[in-house]
Amino acid sequence: MWGSVLLILACFVALFVAFSVKDVVAMKKRGGKYRIKTTMAAYGMLAPAIVLAFIFVMLPIIYSLGYSFTDFYLLKPNDIHFCMLDNFKDIFREIGAKGDMYHAIVNTAIFVVCVVPLQIGLALGLALFVNRKLRAVGIFKVCFFAPVVISLTITAYLWMQILSPSQYGLLNSFLGLFGAEPQDFLNNQKTAMLWIVLMSAWQGCGYQMLIFLSGLTNIRKELYEAASLDGATAWDQFLHITCPGLRSTFLFIVITVFVGACRVMVQPMVLTGYQTHTMTLSYYMYVQGYTYRWVGYSSAVALLMTIVIGSITLIQRRVLREKD
């Protein structure tokens, strides 16, 4: 254990030194005067962040990468063997047999496809709303942003109360006013994911609203005034001024919401538990690693997830950048 940590640390330090040397060489090539004190001070200031990043980010990533090629079982941490690509074969076998991994992929895809446009649309709508000169707009901003501040677990528990199948559940009480029978929203295999999507979009959109809002304030007011003088409608202004003006903000939001959506776990965990119709990739990975104790297999799932999400993110960036 400590041997491998030291080895990784040595590699990290070597990388660090290599970058420092590269800096020095580059500086000398530019003809600048090299001052070792300046470099040392710079790296000294960076050191705390680098140490923390190494311990809490790099080390787990490197370990997880290594574990994905092993048969690591949680209760046998001292008996780990390399199993080459066996974990990855198991993953594809599981997908082929339409097992849990298959359901996790399908559910995650459904979640992503639904939540990304919904959450971004809601965020944009709210941002446009609070960007107007209204009375008490601050109160609206606070209300829309409040769910972001509350823990996701607590939010999910609140939604459990709203969606409670009891006749006293908030939504069922409301529907009861129209004579509807109490519904079991979260145990219904057809509607459970829909509610998870709605809850997630509601919870997360406040944060994107703020980012959109900062994007909106960067669009010059003169453009709207000129468009008004030319007879452009509000819709024309939105389409031809607001949307292009928000393109870089939009790119950032699409990528962050997409990556966040791919990692959804807390909502299904709290609202429905580990069920075939709501399990997601992150939840599947967690259950495989911690409940079933297959750390190696779970790490392989994590690695595949990273590769797939990373690739899609790069494609998104390229596609959206080309339009710039």
Partner: protein, 440 residues
């Protein structure tokens, strides 16, 4: 100069702190365990509850009593408390794994009964067969065994049954006084009672089906499959095909489905924080012994005609839920277990058992513990049931997966899927997991 003084002071402080921390620990001893500064052998015990809870306080009291009684023998228990995660147990497992990895497993741990197989098979637990005297073993209602060897001694026992609201049963014209542990009701009689309650416009039974997100529903419902003549896995715990989807298991799950189809129960009964039974809206309520103090302390006035517990109904055989947390000795670096076993046996003496169960309201794990349960009282029904029809959950290394598969069958029933189809799907899934586990 000023900088130099600053650096020197900082270095001196660091060294002092490091030395101080080093001095805090015990001296490791490869065989018997750590030895503290007074020369006591320290037996490290890890408990699964919060130390401020009633159960935690009871453990602390027993630890303190041991340390007093064994002072002359220079043995001392050092207790740590790691509160479990009720739903997934993952936190406790992870803690054990970290300790195993770091080579500092405590000498004694507590573990939930279904984990016995995996902890034993992976070598985490030490074989107690030759360490625990036979008369002590015989005094336990149940033991944690795997592959013919003893790995755990239960701290306390739990069982479940059907709590009933006498006023509602009277209203439906149902008399259940004849249904006892010795003469349990049958599946058909159970349905008859449900039908009468339904006819009287009362929600018949809360089978806790909505709680199929954690271990709760598995724990409460697995006896129905045994009672119907079913099994979950083979004797060695590695074959699910033909067992999990066998005819016995199918008829057990079909019985549950019949109750849903006939609207005797549903996946939404009791959704309002378990209060439907407590508020007099449900006739029967499947729950464990921990509901007894709950009713007595909070809801007694809601049962003016009284309440009680009925045993599990009998199918081809009688079976009831059992299994709670146990003590086990870990297979750590301390090879001499002589002092550790003294600590373990002290923690399971009748005095310890009584002190702990007084705090938890659970049933003592030892037959010899005197209880003052009145005849026919809820506690006596559960204790009697444990001793006569208690059947443990399947002993398999793949228990976590089994529990998920069990719940998936319930979800499939809720979704209107056929029982046979759901069992086949889950049996295949469970078998794949067990095949993987053969290599562990």
């Amino acid at each position: 100069m000023r900088n130099f003084i600053k650096k020197a002071v900082a270095l001196a402080l660091s060294c002092t702190a490091a030395l101080g921390l080093a001095g805090c620990g015990e001296t490791p001893d490869a065989e018997t365990g750590a030895v503290d500064e007074s020369g006591n052998t320290v037996v490290k015990v890890m408990f699964h509850v919060d130390e401020s809870s009633a159960e935690g306080k009871a453990y602390k009291q027993r630890v303190s009593a041991f340390n007093t009684d064994y002072k002359s023998e220079n043995i001392k228990i050092s207790a740590t408390f790691k509160a479990r995660d009720d739903n997934s147990m993952t936190g406790y497992d992870t803690e054990l794994s970290s300790m195993l990895n770091a080579g500092n497993l405590p000498d004694i741990i507590t573990f939930d009964a279904p984990n016995c197989a995996s902890y034993a098979a992976t070598g985490l637990l030490y074989d107690l067969s030759s360490l625990v005297p036979q008369d002590v073993q015989d005094d336990f209602i149940s033991l944690n065994e795997y592959d013919g060897k003893l790995y755990g001694l239960p701290i306390q026992e739990s069982s479940a049954g059907f709590f009933y609201n006498k006023a509602l049963l009277d209203q439906a014209g149902v008399n259940v006084s004849g249904y006892t542990v010795e003469n349990p009701w049958t599946f058909d009689q159970f349905k008859e009672v449900c039908q009468k309650l339904k006819n009287a416009g009362i929600q018949a039974v809360d089978m806790r089906l909505r709680e199929n997100t954690g271990e709760q529903s598995t724990y409460l419902l697995y006896p129905f499959i045994y009672a119907a003549g079913g099994q979950f896995v083979s004797q060695d715990g590695f074959t699910a095909t033909g067992y999990f989807n066998g005819t016995g298991a199918e008829s057990g799950f079909r019985f549950i489905k019949d109750l849903v189809d006939a609207q005797y129960t549903s996946f939404t009964v009791g959704a309002d924080s378990n209060s439907d039974f407590m508020n007099g809206k449900v006739g029967l309520y499947l729950s464990s012994g921990w509901t007894i103090p709950d009713i007595r302390e909070k809801y007694e006035s809601n049962f003016p005609s009284g309440w009680g517990i009925l045993p599990y109904p009998k199918g081809t055989v009688a079976a009831s839920a059992t299994g709670s947390w146990s003590f086990g000795i870990t297979d750590n670096q301390h090879t001499d277990k002589s002092k550790i076993i003294k600590a373990l046996l002290y923690l399971v003496t009748p005095e310890s058992s009584k002190a702990i169960t007084n705090a938890t309201g659970m049933i003592p794990a030892l037959k010899s513990v005197e209880t003052n349960y009145a005849a026919g009282s809820p506690e006596s029904v559960l204790r009697n049931q444990l001793q006569t029809t208690g059947k443990e959950r399947p002993v398999t290394v793949g228990y976590p997966k089994f529990s998920t598969c069990f719940r998936n069958v319930l979800t499939a029933i809720n979704g209107g899927k056929s029982v046979a189809e759901a069992l086949n799907t889950e049996a295949t899934s469970l078998q794949q997991e067990l095949n993987k586990l053969k290599g562990v």
